[in-house]
């Protein structure tokens, strides 16, 4: 010790102790992060609730609807269950920013008594080139207790883009490293929930029927700004071969378990439809037909079925819009069921 002191300076042992303390702090943080994330409000906190709920689902649960915040705000599962004949228990397990890859995890966790999984997608959900997922989103499924089944891993493995399979195969600590940014988001969300009285974040986190967070219609100026930010003119619709492959595999997995997959193309804001182009939607409609006729998918296309007053902002249906959409889905589901 004394020789190292003279070589690196008299204070060097203390400096190395302090450096070790920094490393120790980081290691403590790595090990505590998953637990911390489970108890902090983040945009992904709902995932934890969903995993818990699906693992302890009641035996009467029959229909599960999933998707992103458009599904969360657009489908009232309570109403859907009541509208179906016979009445069934239905859940809306959509979550903010949910991606198609997450449908695999939801499907993988579905209790056997569920006979229908309804996946809500916007048209671009069928055209984005690959099926991938940010690490922090997957981290939440992992820390909430989800373990992928062999079939789910197999579906991910067969995808041309290996990202999802690598994510599902990697150790948890690796996912934790990239999930750490969520704590910052969590701080933001905590402040935001105090400032934004128009958001019902608690409902968005825990409600299994109608987890709509948005309550107030945004102003005309805000709507125009948001539409210009979110949508761009597109001349053509390019279907994604990888997403199609994923959906085919997902349907096969569900079919083996006696469950069926229904794709609902969610309504888009009329201003978005006007901005994007008629040709895009013409090609999309044609593709939806192909999915039905060529690939035998249950596809219900509602992309242009809501009007402007049905939306609360540039993307999310409001109260009346969600009621209309839910009733349209319930009206289409029995026919789908009979056909299947």
């Amino acid at each position: 010790m004394s020789s190292s002191r003279s070589l690196l300076g008299p204070d060097s042992p203390r400096m190395f102790v302090l450096a070790a303390c920094v490393v120790a702090g980081a290691l403590i943080a790595i090990s505590a992060t998953p637990r911390l994330l489970l108890h902090m409000p983040t945009e992904l906190s709902r995932t934890t609730e969903l995993v818990r709920a699906l693992r302890h689902a009641p035996p009467q649960l029959s229909v599960v609807v999933t998707g992103d915040s458009v599904t969360m705000n657009g489908v009232n599962a309570k109403l859907l269950g009541q509208e179906l004949t016979p009445k069934v228990e239905a859940w809306n397990v959509g979550s903010p920013g949910q991606q198609l890859a997450e449908t695999l995890f939801i499907a993988d966790m579905l209790p056997r008594n569920v006979h229908t999984l309804v996946v809500g997608l916007l048209p671009e959900g069928l055209s984005e080139p690959s099926v991938t997922l940010p690490e922090d989103r997957y981290l939440f499924y992992r820390i909430s207790g989800y373990e992928p089944s062999r079939e789910a891993l197999e579906i991910a493995r067969k995808l041309p883009t290996p990202t999802l399979f690598e994510l599902m195969s990697e150790p948890q600590w690796k996912a934790t490293l990239s999930g750490r940014g969520l704590i910052r988001i969590s701080a933001d969300l905590s402040i935001r929930s105090k400032l934004r009285r128009d958001l019902d974040l608690e409902r968005a986190r825990t409600d299994l029927y109608f987890p709509a967070a948005y309550r107030q219609r945004i102003s005309e100026a805000a709507l125009s700004h948001a539409v210009s930010m979110l949508y761009r003119h597109k001349t053509s619709f390019e279907p994604s071969a990888q997403r199609l492959q994923f959906l085919v595999e997902l349907r096969e997995m569900l079919a083996k378990r006696g469950q069926r997959l229904v794709i609902v193309v969610l309504p888009q804001h009329p201003r978005a439809i006007a901005l994007i182009s008629a040709n895009y939607y013409g090609q999309f409609t044609h593709y939806a037909e192909r999915l039905r006729n060529e690939y035998h998918f249950d596809v219900i296309d509602f992309h242009d079925r809501l009007s402007e007053p049905d939306f609360i902002d540039q993307i999310h249906p409001g109260g009346i819009g969600s009621e209309r959409l839910t009733k349209m889905i319930s009206a289409s589901l029995p026919a789908q069921r009979a056909a299947s």
Binding site: L8, L18, C21, A24, R184, D188
Partner: protein, 480 residues
């Protein structure tokens, strides 16, 4: 190779180990440092080390000749060789594309469409810094202010010494070369450690933390209202200080651990109350370099009012252009030059009215000047950050003429965490204020009992892991 990466830790450990092995041989230690510096630089692009060798070689020879040349004209010619070589290389690598774009613009203005291929020259990292290192040597030797060094190894080590090589502080031969004359003792002490940690926290927690927001907004600022533009401008204001001074802190700390001293580069510039004070606190090594090697040789303030104003403006315009090949940087320098001129006349006016002493003694005046100066700094960072002209004009308009739209909460900024960003800025400003009033936190931590310091380190380690954004951004000044 970045200071805050595992690669650097391995590199640094090996360098220190080799220096320990060679501890009884001062010259061997210097050779180890020189080789380490070359490896550090070559990590980016091995070929560009030849450029430094060439530049250093020319200056070494020029300085050796200067030592034996008495005739003034011959001395001046030798200096010119050094200036033309160094500025020529800098101009070629940094400004050729800029010149081409401007020529094209002028040609098009006269209806001529030249048919030449786009110039695409890779900018060697750190060229603006090491060019100034090496030039300080030949100019000082020319002015007979320092003796020449006999050893090319020592001179090459001065030019390439890795801690400040790619982003400063800019070194002076007169300050660093004497340190190479006698053996240095490595000093891994608490002060150096906390200085390094301060730099790391500035970069990783603050600069990278606020960069997410600034980058997202300035990618296309025309989408945003004044409140968002203001927040993004403040983010960049904090980011550039923490990014650059964080690098300087780490460089100074690493050099100190190896036994060498570098000049301080920042002194809480966001408490400057006027332009001269700002330049005594911001990028000190550059502003003093420009003062000593450009402003004073131009005549400084010794030849009347007109020439003083001209020299101030020229120095700041060139200082702006040093940062990058764009008219935005020239504008940035020009604004600072104009501020120095305005301040000069304001200072004269207050003296003529016998107000100077009373104003200097007034706390209210001090606070007001700091606020006005910082508002000005905020404005000037906009052309520095937003290089697209139409975007810059839009940003300036929204910044200067507030549109009374305070929407932050529902403007689609969720992923950018605007509230956490505001919180981070507030924490930074509180610590910055504390440091200005009571001294830096790192200095306090270096003095407290070991268990307290250890506890602080555990917390900092945890915070570094938790809050460091997974996608870290590169140091801003690397591009210069």
């Amino acid at each position: 190779m970045l200071f805050h990466t595992l690669t650097f830790l391995i590199f640094f450990t090996i360098t220190v180990a080799l220096m320990l092995i060679a501890r009884r041989h001062h010259t061997t230690q210097k050779t180890v440092l020189l080789i380490a510096s070359a490896i550090f630089y070559m990590w980016w692009n091995p070929a560009f080390i030849l450029l430094i060798i060439f530049s250093a070689g020319v200056d070494y020879i020029v300085a050796a000749k200067l030592e034996h040349t008495e005739e003034q004209r011959a001395r001046r010619n030798l200096l010119l060789i050094s200036l033309i070589t160094n500025f020529g290389l800098l101009a070629f690598f940094k400004y050729t594309g800029f010149l081409e774009q401007n020529l094209l613009y002028v040609f098009r203005l006269f209806g001529y469409q030249p048919n030449w291929a786009d110039v695409n020259i890779i900018l060697p990292v750190g060229i603006s810094f090491y060019t100034f290192h090496t030039l300080s040597y030949t100019i000082d030797v020319y002015k007979r202010e320092i003796p020449t060094t006999r050893s090319f190894r020592d001179f090459a080590l001065f030019v390439t010494f890795f801690p400040p090589l790619v982003a400063g502080p800019i070194m002076r031969a007169s300050y660093f070369l004497p340190q190479l004359e006698s053996p240095r003792k490595m000093n891994f002490d608490r002060a150096s450690f906390f200085l390094f940690l301060r730099g790391l926290v500035k970069k990783a927690l603050v600069a990278d933390g606020v960069a997410t927001f600034a980058d997202a907004v300035f990618k296309n600022p025309t989408n945003w209202n004044s409140a968002v533009i203001w927040l993004a401008a403040v983010c960049f204001y904090v980011q550039i200080y923490c990014d650059f001074s964080g690098y300087s802190d780490m460089a100074i700390a690493i050099a100190r651990m190896l036994g060498y001293e570098l000049v301080p580069n920042f002194n809480r510039p966001y408490f400057a109350g006027d332009p001269p004070e700002f330049w005594k606190r911001w990028h000190i090594s550059l502003s003093t370099w420009l003062r000593d090697y450009l402003y004073i040789p131009l005549g400084g303030n010794r030849h009347g009012e007109y020439k003083t104003v001209r020299n101030l403006m020229l120095t700041m315009l060139i200082g702006g252009l040093w940062h990058g090949a764009s008219w935005n940087f020239v504008l940035w320098g020009g604004l600072h030059g104009a501020a120095l001129v305005v301040h000069r006349y304001w200072d004269k006016l207050t003296r003529r009215l016998n107000l100077r002493e009373r104003l200097d003694a007034s706390v209210v005046y001090r606070i007001a000047t700091v606020l006005v100066m910082q508002y000005f700094i905020l404005v000037t960072w906009i052309p520095f950050r937003v290089l697209n002209t139409s975007h810059m004009l839009y940003t300036l308009r929204k910044f200067l003429f507030f549109d009374m739209n305070f929407r932050l909460a529902d403007a689609g900024l969720g992923a950018m965490a605007p509230f956490a960003t505001v919180l981070l800025i507030a924490i930074f400003l509180i610590i910055h204020l504390f440091s200005e009033l009571r001294g830096g936190l790192d200095e306090h931590l270096a003095r407290v009992p070991l268990p307290v310091a250890a506890m602080a380190c555990v917390i900092i380690g945890a915070l570094l892991f938790i809050l460091w954004p997974p996608a870290a951004t590169p140091f801003i000044y690397f591009q210069f």
